[in-house]
Amino acid sequence: MQREVGTLPLAPALRARLAAAGFQTAQELLDTGPCGLSKEIGISREEALEALQVVRQECQGDAARTAGGSGATRKCTALELLEEEQTQGFIITFCSALDNILGGGVQLTKITEICGAPGVGKTQLCMQLAVDVQIPECFGGVAGEAVFIDTEGSFMVDRVVDIAAACVQHCHLIAEAQQEEDLRKALETFSLENILSHIYYFRCRDYTELLAQVYLLPEFLSEHSKVRLVVIDGIAFPFRHDFEDLSLRTRLLNGLAQQLIIIANDHKSAVVLTNQMTTRIGQSQSTLVPALGESWGHAATVRLILHWDNSQRLATLYKSPSQKESTIAYHITSHGFRDVQPPAVTHSTEGTELNPRKRPRTEEGKQ
């Protein structure tokens, strides 16, 4: 193998010794053998054996990867990436206006952050997504499972039951209207108990537990390969107290963001985080901004801010690589996250792009 010694996952001190002794490629190491190696660089035979084992494993791993499997150093063209993204599923939210501004729904392999003041609906949206990710493919869903990491204790299972029951009901109505056999078959496994049994719930009581849980996630996701959604509700709560050293907090959050990006990519899952809002005192007035600071703003690919306008709930797409910034109105009903009006009423082409406040007064009167 032509792998350079400097790229092998050995202890830094060992690598330095190998470089000083003149070894350049992995093949040279393998040819020398453990006895020769231990004599050349002055380490014990056990250490030499261990090092050679690591080298052999790495080389085998390389061979498997270049043979065409997917791995960390895969190369592909932008066209291939585009095609892959276009076939990527979206997790719908049942609020068609929100799905539209997101470009179809919550995207897999991306991190979406939902920010908002208390009570505006962040946890409701997370619970809705944990149910919606399980919708069978013939109904337009991704047929996945969900991991829900709760740091605030706001996951009330009774509410999830309401949302799941409404979702099942909705799918039953579609199946009856369309009278197709595969729809009815899919519904046999899409029941309330099934939905609840595929939401994996973790309760983390402080940031150390959260960090540990995220270290264990890749293994969990490998065992439960159908998981397509990881929710962390909320990411801000454990990090906003107890930190005398803010640079430690920034470092931990950055590390967390990196791990989540890797998880989202490797396991083709959507990662959804909820964040709190904090006040920023400006010149003449105070505004609400997402918590955890400016550098955290770079962690998420897509940022959604939920807020109020008098008593109407609004969602603003604040940051997205492919969709433009827009605001829509939504409702939270007993069935979950829904549109403000049934989609048939709004003008389909322009309704989602107009700011709801600019809609003519007569439509609001009709509500």
């Binding site: 208390p118 009570g119 996951f155 609840l196 109020w308 008593s311």
Partner: protein
């Protein structure tokens, strides 16, 4: 920290001891690269260390939502809630106060917050079957003196309020004995109270309700506008400590809050002109927010006028993860707080 008990390579254990790393928290606070440098091990060894340490911390911590739903155990079930002692109010809250988390009760003065709090202190002492938690309560007063006369009135009239409970059960409960009253008029005393007295009482299982009347009073005088950051830190610290106690002992924490005029430039969803005090920093710590207010109904409103000895009040659900925004009417009678259908 005894690293030998972990399932680790002896080389890793030796490196941990040499690098003077003393706790799981320290290991997790360092990044993979930092650990590699400190302990002089390969990245594979470090990954193994992180996974082992995380496993030990998070052993057996997964539940499915179905298991949560089917859990009927008194202590762990989410279905278990603390009743308010009145079926109308319990219906509004779908059972009562959730056992884990901070619930806030905000309102103008004399709207009925203390009345509801006292009622809860009595309700918690009933058996599980009647919506209680078979334990006592801690009442932390931060401004006024504890209303012991009113408490005695309520105790004497419990049989009238709780007609659903057999008389012999009510007679057996020594209500006054299980209510622990603490006074904490300033922040330091309050801090001491939470970290020492409260944890002690909770650890001994003597109480399963904490009432703080009121949280706003602690912050009224001591902080000027220039000290907003310090105030926010205190609020976050208290919130986190109370939240942690609530989670560890599955004990509801009821915080009474006052209201101030709505001056925020951002909208907060309710149409009212008053908003609970302490701002968004405190609101972020809450699981559920309730608001009470006095309401003056027109004289000819049917049914309601015949009930009330005083004026009508409303109990509003402002936000909760499991409840829609809703409200109901109630009155304060001699025997306690009663909802009106």
């Amino acid at each position: 920290m005894d690293w030998d008990q972990f399932d680790l390579n002896p080389k890793t254990i030796a490196a941990l001891k040499k690098a003077d790393i003393k706790s799981v928290k320290e290991v997790l606070n360092l990044s993979g690269a930092d650990l590699q440098r400190l302990m002089k091990l390969s990245s594979a060894d470090i990954q193994c260390l992180l996974k082992t340490v995380s496993h030990t911390l998070r052993r057996n911590s997964m539940l499915t939502a179905l298991q949560l739903y089917q859990d009927k155990d008194h202590f762990t079930s989410q279905h278990q809630k603390l009743s308010l002692g009145c079926s109308v109010l319990d219906n509004l809250l779908k059972g009562g106060i959730p056992l884990v988390g901070i619930t806030e009760l905000a309102g103008e003065s004399s709207a009925g917050k203390t009345q509801i709090s006292l009622q809860l202190c009595l309700c918690v002492q009933y058996p599980y079957k009647y919506g209680g938690l078979e334990s006592g309560a801690v009442y932390i007063c931060t401004e006024d003196v504890f209303p012991s006369k009113r408490l005695q009135q309520l105790i004497d009239q419990q049989h009238k309020l709780r007609a659903d409970v057999p008389a012999e059960i009510i007679q057996k409960i020594r209500f006054g004995n299980s209510i622990f009253v603490e006074q904490a008029a300033d922040l330091d005393t309050f801090q001491q109270c939470i970290t020492r007295r409260l944890s002690l009482l909770l650890a001994r299982g003597m109480v399963r309700l904490v009432v703080i009347d009121s949280i706003a009073a602690l912050f009224r005088c001591e902080f000027g506008p220039a000290q907003a950051a310090l105030k926010a830190r205190y609020l976050q610290t208290f919130g986190a400590q109370l939240h942690s106690l609530s989670t560890r002992f599955r004990t509801p924490i009821m915080c009474v809050n006052q209201v101030w005029d709505q001056t925020a430039s951002y909208s907060t969803g309710t149409g009212s002109r008053v908003t609970p005090a302490l701002g968004i920093t405190w609101a972020n710590q809450l699981l559920m927010r309730l608001m009470v207010s006095r309401v003056s109904l027109p004289r000819h409103s049917p049914g309601a006028a015949s009930h009330c000895a005083g004026s009508m009040r409303t109990l509003n659900v402002i936000f909760a993860p499991h409840l829609p925004p809703s409200f109901c009417y109630y009155t304060v009678q001699l025997e306690g707080v009663r909802g009106i259908k």
